[in-house]
Symmetry: D2
Subunit: 287 residues, 4 copies
């Protein structure tokens, strides 16, 4: 696939981002790539209207580029999850799992990719819905994870959960994470979850500081529908975070439905990218 | 030590508590024990004025009894930590580590204790202070634990910490727990901390979902002064919880000092109480 | 599928097994089921000739029944993994994940299954090979797990490993477990591995007491080929255990290849069997 | 304390050790330090007669120096645990927790210590005894840890244990570690144990891959006597390792007694040594 029309996406207002975008634009224009947007340096991924932008440009794009960090890439992926636009990221911050291209070597790395030295990986996303008193009050998607978290309380919350309508149990603790393979190296890892290979068709359910210490992460087939009911939020409300973004304030007895999204992300990786090498480097595994 | 004057402490408004208190009062009065309060069923541990009450009665009490659960007992212990009053708890809820006496067998068990079939355990407490811009803005004590926790955010917070002014490191995650041996079977256990024997002169520092997965619980001598600085609360504030109670809203750059309190608690345990048996029972260890 | 011809499998020499087998035989004969063997109470699964037996009877069997515990069932499954014979187990010992039928309620439960109140689950097995100096010196299959374990030494061993020829890293520790979903609730759970849903197409690699504490379990697609090289066995040899059975004494520089077996097991489960209920019960999760 | 007579200890036969010893001897002799041995480069710590050597020279030594790695230092510490001889180590291998001096900067660092820029740390040791059929059949000491480990079997072993004659419980698994604070960063850390501050008066009991997943490390006061009985070694014997050295082959029903040794080690640390900095460096904690 030739990348003739490329969209640039970033976050407003950071001098380092502006410099990187400028250098990238100049290089791509010199190579006769058509860039979107044409009248601005980039589309602002953190703008409220980014959904409309995505809809208006997706059929013209051969490639979307996020300039920033893993958080920027998560935004890009969610907004294009219903399309087939290939995506890639340039990393300006801490080493990322999602953003392959380094700011320092960006020009050479982009040229490699334009020359066809890349491969594509399809990543699943999570779709989450909150139901209250019989009505769906909120919904959204996540490339990394959906997190049910307690509010501002020093006490535990309690939830019950089901997989494909089979009851799994009732747990008390700080909350629970449902992660895709992509998110398994993010928050879920900190909470004690396993690392899932990126293309494994699975979702992992990781309790956060569970009161019953025999509770353990469970890895499910990604065709599973996972349902949570928050029984008791300790009087402090609760939150559903999708990729770290606050989706809604939860109330006692809310139901949260989580399943694989119908959309997905197609990540473009440099041919030299090696998942296990990234793990070794980021997790400090000796060579 | 003979228990001639006994104080009763509970929480207002629960029929089950009222029934238990009534039965206990009748039994103790029949045994010629002097009861405080004389004009009410019990002192309300959750009343704002309980500190003044504790000060006015502590030198008359031979024993303080908390009727409720571990939470009630934690309140009693904090309010009498500067005294030498022996304390015991009657458990009306889930099996507790701190409340020895069961509601069902309370009368016999109290008689055993009045007959001298008990032993005393001294437990350390934690003293915590929050400093902001050079001034101490809040302080308190805890029998279980002090918890620095993130606010309502799906992102990590970052803190640095020192032991006796030696730098330990900088950690990102959901927060951190400093626990006494007493609290080591509470929240700290859920977060992956070790079980400390009740009389070990130690404090344990347990990171909550640390981003760097090689971070591990560290057990320190209880003469240590532990200092935390919250570098970045992810724009959502943060909290210091003492025994689960919200002590203050934290701001970026706040310093939290934690050391052993000068006060302590003297817990009265039934002679039959066995710490390891309680562990086996509560943690589901096969016999 | 009607179960007209049933094979019985057990281990020699235990009075409790003999009683259970006798009761089961009588009941099945009364129901006009053909039983194999015809001239003995059961085939001895722990006999060296069991492989030949399996080959000679498999095309006549509609169902194989293991009487014993999970260990007996593991034997049955391995010996019939190259066939399509449905298998079920009667549990005489500790509650098992693989043996559904209880000794106490066996007759009713068998009748339920004969009446068609069951479902089938296909479980993957692991195939393992040991290569030394270019030659394959041993091979075998496992329903639960393949374990590379250190020999009788108080020191660590070191191994390197690859997934589909991509290097993952070099680890020191007590060894490593590769588990199927079936085995994820066995030894791998004790070593800190996640629980995999029984039908997840995955293999999990769980290091045993890794020296580098940032090492974590990794869950791979079951199409992966996992290769280990044992670099240094600390002068004490090492072992490859398949379902807990010692397959070979390892030497330095041996290569162990692990992939999904071409065979598989078809487990017959009582219609009432619920995987999560079994987890709750065995792991002590409160309801 | 002035270090006028210094003993050198190493392991026979390694060219790198020999070079380091030679350089150290020359430097110390040039500084008018008396060296032991006088007629050989060093005492061989791994020689069977090292116990007699230690006895014959200990009252003449102001300082003992181990040249090698943490393993060499462990040997030195055990052989001098009944003396008050200060000890220090030169590290030729992987970064160690016990061996402060680096081979590269050894001369300057030794001069610093001779100039008095050091501090001393007293470390506790473990004393272990094996009892069989009423008789004590073996005993020994360890600076790091005592490990009860299964033999060459793919099955679990079972043991029961007591603290000061109070029963704690019965556990199945790969074995159990009792560690001093010194050993808490060694094998016990790999098995999931907490880090104990070096001078904490504590012993930590860490189960190895326990079958009951709610089992957790327990930290005890170092005045505790810990007693294990190995109920079932799965037909494969078992081992008691002290600092990784095989002390005895265990049999079913053996009793192992573990308590703090009457001896102890006095470690000399460079004034610049910082325990937490060593942790950060070795465990890969980001700064």
């Amino acid at each position: 696939m030739a990348f003739r029309t490329i969209g640039l996406f970033a976050r407003q207002g950071d001098a380092r981002i502006m410099g990187t975008v400028r250098a990238l634009r100049e290089h791509l224009l010199a190579r006769d790539i058509e860039l979107l947007p044409g009248d601005a340096p980039f589309f602002d991924l953190f703008d409220d209207g980014i959904g409309d932008v995505a809809e208006s440009v997706h059929d013209r794009l051969d490639l979307g580029v996020a300039i920033g960090g893993d958080g920027t890439m998560l935004h890009l992926a969610r907004h294009f999850s219903w399309t087939r636009v290939p995506l890639i990221g340039v990393n300006l911050g801490r080493l990322g799992f999602l953003t392959d291209l380094s700011a320092e070597r960006m020009i050479e790395e982009v040229d490699e990719i334009l020359a066809g030295n890349y491969y594509s990986e399809t990543r699943i996303l999570i779709a989450a819905e909150i139901h209250r008193a019989g009505a769906r009050i909120a919904e959204g998607v996540a490339l990394n994870d959906a997190v049910i978290a307690k509010g501002e309380t020093g006490r535990m919350i309690e939830y019950s959960w089901w997989v494909d309508d089979e009851p799994v149990g009732t747990t008390r603790g700080d909350g629970v994470i449902v992660t895709t393979p992509t998110g398994s190296t993010a928050y879920a890892l900190s909470a004690g979850g396993p690392i899932l290979h990126p293309v494994l068709p699975a979702l992992s359910v990781v309790p956060i500081c569970p009161h019953t210490v025999s509770h353990r992460p469970i890895v499910l087939d990604d065709s599973s529908t996972i349902r949570f009911q928050v029984n008791d939020l300790a009087g402090a409300g609760g939150h559903l975070f999708l990729d770290g973004l606050d989706m809604a304030l939860l109330e006692d007895d809310d139901t949260i439905l989580i399943r694989k999204s119908e959309g997905q992300s197609m990540l473009v990786r440099a041919a030299s990218h090696n998942h296990f090498e990234a793990l070794r480097s980021k997790l400090g595994w000796a060579g």
